[in-house]
């Protein structure tokens, strides 16, 4: 099969390709774990936190698309529900943990209820039907968020304050003089605390997902992906399993949405709900490798770096071709999504298993 039933093959010797994937993922994980000390400028912290959050988001999407074969376009909707839930509460009640817990909790519950509704309503029909329904639901949510501007701040979104523990002025540890303690020349202030809040939440959620796919339930999901009729015939309730995993993915997406809202101290359609995020997630999961979970780590990092460097490269190319008609327009840095789209199509054609999947197949006994 294309999206690869790799993880279930019991082999004594771990194939070399798989070892390589794990090594890469471990290296990325270590980089992220010590990011505040390795990359000291402010922009790097933003990028590292964004990578952490997207790894969880993409991995939870992989539970659907890669493991169960469900194509949903409503993933940003759940992400946005969590983010808006926490954000609205933080704005209304001021910065406090109760606001995050209650507001974020409400957002997560709303995501769960919506996921149950959508799942029971349309998961029993064809995959394609489900894709359409989720797309429609997600865009209605986007329109609602921009129309109910009294609550959501409309198109512009709104800013608010995070708990004091996360503000840059907060001293995490104090030295003898009452100044903020420095470790390897990095001030241990609230910014570091905020980063580790993001990193640890992401790590916990990511490990949880690894546990889920390794459980008997994960195996049933793969069985449903490979042959729905057969899974049903063996006696597994396909609709129940599909709805369950859809709900789990929705809850994880909403939870990481809460984390995103706390980290960013800003929530708006562009960062929490927009269709661009959905496209990013799709690209990342396909580039990384569907049905691997760890592929999410590679996909997110590659995409984030590509977004960064592709723009630079295109700027150079656009200047070089300035005299030719239309070509500079196509190479304009704003059009980077065009080339990413082309790359995406080629990937789906030639490497449907993605980077992680292709690597993992290398050197295996099959």
């Amino acid at each position: 099969m294309t999206a690869a039933s790799i993880s279930a093959t019991p082999t004594r010797r771990v194939p070399a390709g798989r070892l390589a994937v794990y090594a890469i993922v471990l290296a990325i994980g270590l980089c992220l774990a010590f990011a505040p000390f390795l990359f000291t400028d402010v922009r790097a912290a933003e990028v590292a936190a964004r990578i952490c959050i997207f790894i969880v988001l993409v991995a939870s999407y992989d539970l659907l698309i890669g493991y169960t074969g469900i194509v949903s376009f409503a993933h940003t909707m759940f992400f946005g529900l969590g983010a808006y839930g926490a954000a609205i509460a933080l704005k209304a009640w001021g910065p406090g943990w109760d606001a995050i817990l209650l507001g974020g909790g409400a957002g997560v519950v709303a995501a769960l209820v919506l996921a149950v509704l959508i799942g029971l309503l349309s998961l029993r029909v064809k995959a394609i039907f489900f894709a359409m329904v989720t797309l429609a639901a997600a865009s209605v949510m986007l329109v609602l968020a921009s129309q109910l501007s009294d609550i959501t701040g409309g198109e512009d979104g709104f800013t608010y304050q995070a708990p004091r523990l996360f503000s840059p002025a907060f001293k995490l540890f104090e030295d003898a003089d009452g100044k903020v303690l420095r470790l390897f020349d990095v001030a241990l202030n609230g910014k570091v605390a905020a980063y580790y809040f993001v990193f640890l939440s992401s790590l916990v959620l990511f490990l949880l997902m690894l546990r889920i796919v390794a459980s008997p339930m994960g195996t049933v999901l793969e069985a449903i992906r490979e042959n729905e009729m057969r899974a049903e015939a063996i006696g597994y309730k396909v609709v129940a399993y599909r709805t369950a995993i859809f709900c789990i993915a929705a809850v994880i997406a909403a939870t990481i949405g809460v984390v995103r809202a706390v980290w960013l101290k800003y929530t708006g359609p562009e960062v929490a709900l927009s269709f661009h995020i959905m496209i990013d997630i799709l690209l990342m999961v396909v580039i990384g490798g569907m049905g691997t979970i760890v592929g999410a780590v590679i996909g997110v990092v590659v995409m984030s770096l590509a977004q960064f460097y592709l723009k630079d490269l295109m700027e150079v190319a656009a200047e070089a071709t300035a005299g030719i008609p239309l070509l500079p327009d196509l190479l304009n840095p704003d059009r980077w999504l065009l080339w990413l789209g082309v790359l995406f199509i080629l990937l789906v054609y030639f490497f449907p298993a993605g980077i992680a999947g292709t690597l993992m197949n290398k050197g295996s006994a099959r």
């Binding site: 429609a136 065009l338 789209g341």
Partner: protein, 328 residues
Amino acid sequence: MNALLDRVGGVYALPVILAILAFAAIGSTSTWVTLTAAGLAMGMMIFLMASGLSLIFGLMDVLNFGHSAFVSFGAFIAASVLAALGAWLAADSVLLNIAALMAAIAAATAFGALAGWGFERVIVKPVYKDHLRQILITMGALIVAEQLLLAIWGGTPIAVARPAFLTGSIIIGDVAIEAYRIFALLLGLVVYVGMYLALNRTRIGLLIRAGVENREMVESLGFRIDRLFIGVFMAGSALAAMGGAMWAGYQSLITPALGQELMIIVFIVVIIGGLGSIQGSLLGAILVGLMTNYVAFLFPKLALASNMLLMMAVLLWRPYGLKPAVKG
């Protein structure tokens, strides 16, 4: 309840019921007639876009997420042609006006057919029978098409010139109906009748309907199903582009985001109508068109959400849509 509904015309009675309910809620006759005309016109334009998508799915089992790209390209090509033929449009002669409008629609439609051919060959053909990759690839194609649109026409809204004879309204009593809406309604009806006749009275139509019913059978009887596929895909894309061209004239100001906005409505229509059937698409399109206009008048903030609720209600009642040609 089902028996009662069947006696008054089955699911086809739904738009009528909706219109009657709306009449009760609105109260004023002239407003109601204006809104109904607007809803029907909008429904007809959406029908043009949705029917192609539905038919392609029914015959080929391919859901083209890039369908809305044809709509946007149709709209922008029509706008460009109309802008180039500005002199004809402004002229006093109705003949020249019609010629310019027809040229614009024909250009959009021709482009739709050609692009549809290329799209089918390059994008869709390698992934027949693989739904997951189909969705991904057509989605990728949509991204590329939207970016091309931005690269060619830029991100700013473009004003669309409307031919002189279609501006203004026709006034009957105290009811005013925009002329362009009547034109859209008529064109939609012509296309519907044309499609109906082509599907039900011609040999090719017979083969297409047989293909929707059972693809393997048609193939094993020795007919070239791949040629049918290309033909239907081109026709569907051309219809989408035509719908886009009509929409451009209706909106009179178009942005590159138009395709995305319409795609949602088109999807809702196809889901409500049931995949694979022309009648279903027409029914769904008219329902959505009427619903949008009535709700936009009664509760302005709920316009888009109302379509969503309509879809939910229909899915609860009939999980495969109102008039599906293919099930499961």
